[in-house]
C-alpha cells in the first residue's frame, strides 16, 4: 500500500467513525464535535485530491464558523435526551429499511461502473506551483459568472430574510449612542441655579 493510500484509508476510517458518532452520541455537544471531526477528515481527503482551496475553505467556513455557532447554541440548550430517544426501538426497522434503500441506490449510481477509471481518466498530477485557487477563481468569474452571481444574490436574500424574521423593535431595551455621548456639552445636562443664601436664624 502506498503512502497516499494509507492516508486515504486513515482519513476515510476517521470520517466514517465520526459520522456514525454524530448520529449515535448521546450528548448533543458530543454529536456536534463528532461533526467537526467529520469535516476535518473530509478536508484531509480533499487535500489528497489536490483541492487545497476547497479543503481549507471547508475547515475555515464549516469548522471555524458554522460549527462554532452550532456548538454555541447546543451548549446552551437544555435537551432532554430520554424524550428524544423515545420510540427508538419502535422506529428502528423503518430506519434500517430507509438506510438500506439509500445505500443500495448510492452503490448503484455512484459505483465504479458509472464513475470509475473506465469512465473518467485519472486526472494528471499538477506541478507544485499550480494554484488551485487561481484556477477556481478564473472559472467562477468568467465561465460561470452569472450562475455564481445568482447564487450570491440568493444567499444575500436569505441573510436579509433571516434577519428580518428575527429582528423586532424592542422599546424596553436601552441603547447607547456613542456619538451622542461624545457630543454632550456641559450646558445640555447642567443647570446652575442662583439662589439667595439663607440667613442664619
Amino acid at each position: 500500500m502506498s503512502f497516499t493510500e494509507i492516508v486515504f484509508y486513515a482519513f476515510s476510517a476517521i470520517m466514517i467513525t465520526a459520522a456514525l458518532g454524530v448520529i449515535s452520541a448521546r450528548n448533543p455537544v458530543h454529536s456536534a464535535l463528532f461533526l467537526v471531526l467529520t469535516f476535518f477528515a473530509t478536508s484531509g481527503i480533499w487535500l489528497l485530491l489536490e483541492a487545497e482551496f476547497l479543503a481549507i475553505t471547508l475547515v475555515l467556513v464549516y469548522v471555524g464558523a458554522v460549527m462554532v455557532l452550532f456548538l454555541f447554541v447546543v451548549m446552551m440548550l437544555d435537551i432532554n435526551i430520554t424524550v428524544m430517544r423515545q420510540g427508538f426501538i419502535k422506529y428502528l426497522p423503518i430506519g434500517i429499511l430507509v438506510a438500506l434503500v439509500l445505500v443500495t441506490q448510492m452503490v448503484l449510481l455512484v459505483g465504479p461502473e458509472n464513475f470509475g477509471l473506465s469512465q473518467f481518466a485519472e486526472p494528471a498530477l499538477k506541478a507544485a506551483d499550480y494554484s488551485n485557487t487561481r484556477e477556481l477563481g478564473r472559472v467562477i468569474y468568467t465561465d460561470y459568472v452569472y450562475p455564481f452571481e445568482v447564487a450570491s444574490v440568493i444567499l444575500l436574500v436569505a441573510i436579509v430574510a433571516a434577519i428580518a424574521l428575527t429582528m423586532r423593535r424592542r422599546p424596553e431595551t436601552k441603547y447607547q449612542t456613542p456619538i451622542k455621548q461624545m457630543m454632550v456639552k456641559k450646558s445640555d445636562r447642567l443647570r446652575i441655579v442662583k439662589m439667595q443664601a439663607e440667613e442664619k436664624q
Partner: protein, 350 residues
C-alpha cells in the same frame, strides 16, 4: 569531527527514504518550535517587566540576575502542580481542550516565512491556511468552558466564542485586502510584492486594514482590552477557571504563541516582513531575518502596551466595535482598493 560524519552519514543513508523525510521534517519543526517556546516563556517575562515599568514598579527581580530566570521557575512550578479534574467534568474533553488550543497555535507557524528561503511549508494557499487555523483556536476555549462543568467557565467560553466569530469576519476582510494587494495567497509572494523599501510596503495603501487587522488580532487572542472571556472581576478567570498545573500552562502557552503569531503576521502582511525599510542595500541594514524579528517584537510590545493602558471594554461595546465599525470600514476600504486597482495607483501601478 570528520570521524563523526563518517559514522553518521552511512547510518543516515541506510535509513529508508520515508524515514529520512520524516526525520528531516521533524528536525525543521523542532527548529521552529523550540525557539518559539523559548520566546513564549520570555514574552511572559517581558510582559511583567513592561507593565511593571509602565506602572512604576520593578517587576520580577528575584529569580536569577534581574529576574531573568523567572519564566523557568514558573514553568517548573506549573509542571509539579497537580492537575485537578472537577467532579462531573467530562474527563476526555477536559484534557483535550488545552491541546485543541495549542495545536492550531503551533501548526499555523508552518507557513510563516522567516526570510527569503526559510519556510517549513511553502503553501500556495498560505494565507487561507493561517485563517483556517486561527479560527480553530476557539474550540479549545469552547470545549474547556463546557467540559469543566462550571457556570463561570461556560460563560467565559460563550463570551469568547461570540467575540472570536465577530472579529474573524473583520480579520478575514482585512486579509482579503492584503491578498488583493499581493495578488497571491502565498506569504512569500506577498512579501516579494512589497520589496523595494518602505514606500512599497502594504501599510501605505492598506492603512485602515492594518488597524482593523491588528485590533481584531488583539480581540481574537482574548487579550486586554478585549479580555472579557477571562474577565477576572466578573467571571473569575473565565474558561480556564477549573484548570491547574500543566493543563493551565498549555492554555497560557497557546495564548502567548498566538500573540507572537499575530505580531509576526502583522509585520509580514503590512510591514514587509524580513524586508529592510531602506531597500535591499546589503549588510546589516539590508534585508534579513533581524528586521522580521524587530518588527515582531515591536508588535508584541504594542500588545503589552495596550494591556497596560486601556480599561476592559464592556461586552456590548466589543460587539458594536466588531460588527458596526470594523466590518463597514473593511468593506469600504476593499471598494477603495478596487478603485485603486482600476486606476493603477499604489502597488498596482506600472
Amino acid at each position: 569531527m570528520d570521524s563523526i560524519v563518517n559514522i553518521l552519514l552511512p547510518l543516515w543513508e541506510w535509513l529508508p527514504e520515508y524515514l529520512q523525510i520524516f526525520l528531516w521534517n521533524l528536525g525543521k519543526i523542532l527548529l521552529i518550535m523550540l525557539p518559539l517556546m523559548g520566546a513564549v516563556a520570555y514574552v511572559t517575562l517581558l510582559e511583567r517587566k513592561v507593565i511593571g515599568f509602565m506602572q512604576v514598579r520593578i517587576g520580577p527581580n528575584r529569580v536569577g540576575p534581574k529576574g531573568l530566570l523567572q519564566p523557568i521557575a514558573d514553568a517548573l512550578k506549573l509542571m509539579f502542580k497537580e492537575i485537578i479534574i472537577p467532579t462531573n467534568a467530562n474527563k476526555f474533553l477536559f484534557l483535550s481542550a488545552p491541546m485543541l488550543s495549542i495545536g492550531p497555535a503551533l501548526a499555523a507557524w508552518a507557513v510563516i516565512p522567516f526570510n527569503g528561503e526559510l519556510v517549513l511549508a511553502d503553501l500556495n494557499a498560505g494565507l487561507l491556511y493561517i485563517l483556517a487555523l486561527t479560527s480553530m483556536g476557539v474550540y479549545g476555549v469552547l470545549i474547556a468552558g463546557w467540559a469543566s462543568n462550571s457556570k463561570y467557565a461556560l460563560l467565559g467560553a460563550l463570551r469568547s466564542a461570540a467575540q472570536v466569530v465577530a472579529y474573524e469576519i473583520a480579520m478575514g476582510f482585512a486579509l482579503v485586502g492584503v491578498l488583493m494587494a499581493g495578488g497571491s495567497l502565498n506569504l512569500g509572494d506577498i512579501i516579494a510584492k512589497q520589496a523595494g523599501g518602505f514606500s512599497n510596503w502594504f501599510i501605505i495603501p492598506l492603512l485602515p486594514l492594518f488597524f482593523v487587522y491588528f485590533i481584531s488580532g488583539v480581540a481574537e487572542t482574548n487579550r486586554a482590552p478585549f479580555d472579557v472571556a477571562e474577565g477576572e472581576s466578573e467571571i473569575v478567570a473565565g474558561f480556564h477557571v477549573d484548570y491547574s498545573g500543566m493543563a493551565f500552562a498549555v492554555f497560557f502557552l497557546a495564548e502567548y504563541a498566538n500573540i507572537i503569531m499575530i505580531s509576526a503576521l502583522t509585520s509580514l502582511l503590512f510591514w514587509g516582513g524580513w524586508l529592510s525599510p531602506f531597500g535591499d542595500i546589503g549588510g546589516i541594514l539590508g534585508n534579513g531575518f533581524h528586521w522580521f524579528l524587530l518588527k515582531t517584537v515591536f508588535f508584541i510590545f504594542v500588545f503589552l502596551w495596550l494591556r497596560a493602558t486601556f480599561p476592559r471594554y464592556r461586552y456590548d461595546q466589543i460587539m458594536r466595535l466588531g460588527w458596526k465599525v470594523f466590518i463597514p470600514v473593511t468593506i469600504v476600504w476593499l471598494f477603495v482598493e478596487a478603485v485603486m486597482f482600476v486606476m493603477q495607483v499604489g502597488p498596482w501601478g506600472a
